[in-house]
Point group: C2
Amino acid sequence: MSSNGKVEKVIIIGSGPAGWTAALYAARANLSPLVFAGRPKTVPTTILPGGQLMMTTEVENYPGFPEGVTGPKLMSYFEQQAMRFDTRIVTDKGMTPDVSNADDGHSYSYHDCKRVDLSKRPFLVVGEDDTEYHAHSVIIATGATANWLGLDNEKRLAMSGGGVSACAVCDGALPVFRDKVLGVVGGGDSAVEEASYLTKFASKVVMIHRRDQLRASKIMAQRAKDNPKIEFAWNKTVSDVLGDDMITGVTLKDTKTGEQSTMELGGLFMAIGHTPATEFLEGQLQLDEKKYIKLADPYRSTTSVEGVFGAGDCVDSVYRQAVTAAGMGCKAAIDAERWLADQGVE
Amino acid sequence: MSSNGKVEKVIIIGSGPAGWTAALYAARANLSPLVFAGRPKTVPTTILPGGQLMMTTEVENYPGFPEGVTGPKLMSYFEQQAMRFDTRIVTDKGMTPDVSNADDGHSYSYHDCKRVDLSKRPFLVVGEDDTEYHAHSVIIATGATANWLGLDNEKRLAMSGGGVSACAVCDGALPVFRDKVLGVVGGGDSAVEEASYLTKFASKVVMIHRRDQLRASKIMAQRAKDNPKIEFAWNKTVSDVLGDDMITGVTLKDTKTGEQSTMELGGLFMAIGHTPATEFLEGQLQLDEKKYIKLADPYRSTTSVEGVFGAGDCVDSVYRQAVTAAGMGCKAAIDAERWLADQGVE
């Protein structure tokens, strides 16, 4: 099924801070962008509409909101702003539905994109209902997902602001974690970074790791060991998260003996990596060893395929903040606009 | 005069989107940042407090504000948010004054920084009253200033939203410029980019250039010539900007004959370059040929001096948007925090 032979100027895949900012800038540049905003668990690409902030209660560090703002509210503002200009969204009710009450729920469903063919221009983007769209340029802003343990209580407390988080930089400074004993799940460099960061606020940080030594680099492992506020729970996995409205502790399982124990905690931070939503790009675009999109010029948004631009957490394994993702979305739209002008696409 | 021998964890120089975002992230990381917010025309560094947005009436493209926001209001939000955490500002009334009404004017003056010595650690930062401050790390976010013609009427109309601007990407899409004849002052690559961009909205764009051919690269000059909506006013400079509340035209002076003429215009865009506020860094830090700070790793914020980080328009000659600057400010604070942890500074 083909979408009437029209070639879009730019298709944006993703609807987190990077995707909406790219849409805002592209729309203001009269490129009339078409956005695949994604849907959880529909087709293989599985972009979470709104991105990871949809799982965040209080955002204190997106600049411009002195009192803070909830993640879903912030993403609704982003979306409304992009839609104020000529942004179109692919949904089951057609394009450009009314999103003015997006934060109160939609009467329609966004469409995810199923696959892309970036091997020739115009590029092909296939929607989840198999409609084919063509575009002169594509901005990929599909994000990344923090890896979670997959426990029901973990998810429940993470989504309700109950002291479970996958981002120490985002949430560590919240008052609820002050002078508490905090757990960090993981043993790599990032886990040590998160644990060190949390010692600024916590009375103590316990690194919970499935093995008997850290997987982190020597220097990072040493830093963790030298920090008097960091302790270790070796050979342990978290088998449950305890607490009603707020975490009170975890159930640990010993990976050697299988023995169960409980540990009291005032907060729990996941640091077991992220998975960029780039599976659908395998073989189409250069990815790095961790499957993040490799930028052709790290200062810009260009990728290994001319006319394809990357932005947000799917290109960023380092910072992963709403404002850094938004900045990259802006860059991608400006790069796309200039590239299209180079190509004579008006 | 020395500031009591204390060594700050991080000093931030600059108070635009990059500076305040760096302060926000540094403060939330318990680094208790000290900010030199600058003052117009006091000491050689001359940072404009709040940055270039202070000269902007309506900001439509900073994501998170669907209805738009004024530049000064937005910067006041940024400042208040940084101050909500443990950010300190150097002023003539001491540090950490009440900024909750910053947008209504302060009862104190910010201090600019006069000079820095980055040749050894801890770094030295000297305030405008000659007080010496020392810091383990420094984030430079002093911005850049668009070059203006220096005409009174130009400044008046630029500051009142009267159709004079130095940023086509920021302002070109505003309704006031639709289907108008717009002037672009300049003849370089950026001027062509701005002119091309404006043809999306304008009925016609006139490039006003002091010479009889563009200074732009061949390919860009050709693009301008090929664009049916772009015309040229060769050998002309703008000697005055006409209009009361809104620009109505300009007075042109012929650079060869000296002859004066007037041209009706519905908008005027400066594209005669930017000057990064980096004079005070000459010989201290690697700058590029246009005097922008050279990043050691273009994906990060590290500079040629370990412990010194750069963010915002003083490192960016390409995008120059509030949200890209804010993203870089975030990166700089995260980089500084991790670097300080590496150095054992808690």
